[in-house]
């Protein structure tokens, strides 16, 4: 079940090897992204693209405002 998190919780999740996904378009991802985040642009986010992610590990999804 998705829920919003604050940055201190993000740091904790990163330490616990959470998967991070940036959903902005590729050019913006290439300009800057959270280290180790993968890029799945929102328009491309579907069952097939999400299959890249590992089940059982937390997934953090973010956009411009880390929301």
């Amino acid at each position: 079940m998705p829920r919003a998190i604050a940055r201190h919780e993000l740091r904790r999740l990163l330490d616990e090897a959470a998967q991070v996904v940036e959903v902005l378009p590729k050019p913006e991802y290439e300009w800057a992204h959270i280290a180790d985040a993968v890029n799945i642009p929102l328009k491309e986010l579907d069952e097939a693209s999400a299959a890249r992610l590992e089940r059982g590990r937390p997934v953090v999804v973010y956009c411009n405002d880390l929301q």
């Binding site: 993000l10 740091r11 991802y29 290439e30 800057a32 992204h33 959270i34």
Partner: protein, 144 residues
């Protein structure tokens, strides 16, 4: 992007204000004597002292002629209030262009809650942009 101001590790090609900020900058409290602010500014060599509250919340700056006032005057009385600041997430090339147009040689870098991170000097930022490399310098100010 606001998350870039949180100090999280990042990848990508961007050169941001936080990469070229000088975190060593003279600061003083609101009620500090102007003589103290002057000494600190001179010790740092850039003729500027940032007036802070609660340790690092920017309230104003004292520089130039204002630093030359009576030593017993309080920094709060001499400071310029409402100074321009930028976030560490600002793109350096775009920022340098704006600073050049405005004739600004240096600008404070703060977090989104007004906490001082340091000062960005246009000459250094221009150099970093030309060489596309960050300038890593430590100092007293840190992101919280």
């Amino acid at each position: 992007m606001d998350w870039l101001s949180y100090g999280l590790p990042r990848g990508g090609s961007a050169l941001l204000a936080g990469d070229v900020v000088d975190r060593s900058v003279a600061t003083c409290d609101l009620d500090a004597p102007l003589g103290e602010a002057r000494t600190r500014a001179n010790d740092h060599g850039d003729g500027l002292c940032v007036v802070v509250a609660d340790g690092d919340v920017v309230m104003g700056i004292v520089g130039g002629e204002a630093l030359e006032g009576p030593a017993e005057r309080r920094a709060e009385q001499a400071m310029t209030f409402g100074v321009s600041t930028v976030r560490p997430s600002e793109d350096v090339e775009a920022l340098v262009e704006r600073m050049s147009r405005a004739g600004v040689d240096a600008i404070l870098v703060t977090s989104s809650d007004a906490r001082l991170l340091g000062v960005l000097r246009r000459a250094e930022a221009e150099s970093a942009a030309r060489h596309r490399s960050p300038i890593a310098r430590g100092g007293a100010a840190s992101e919280g």
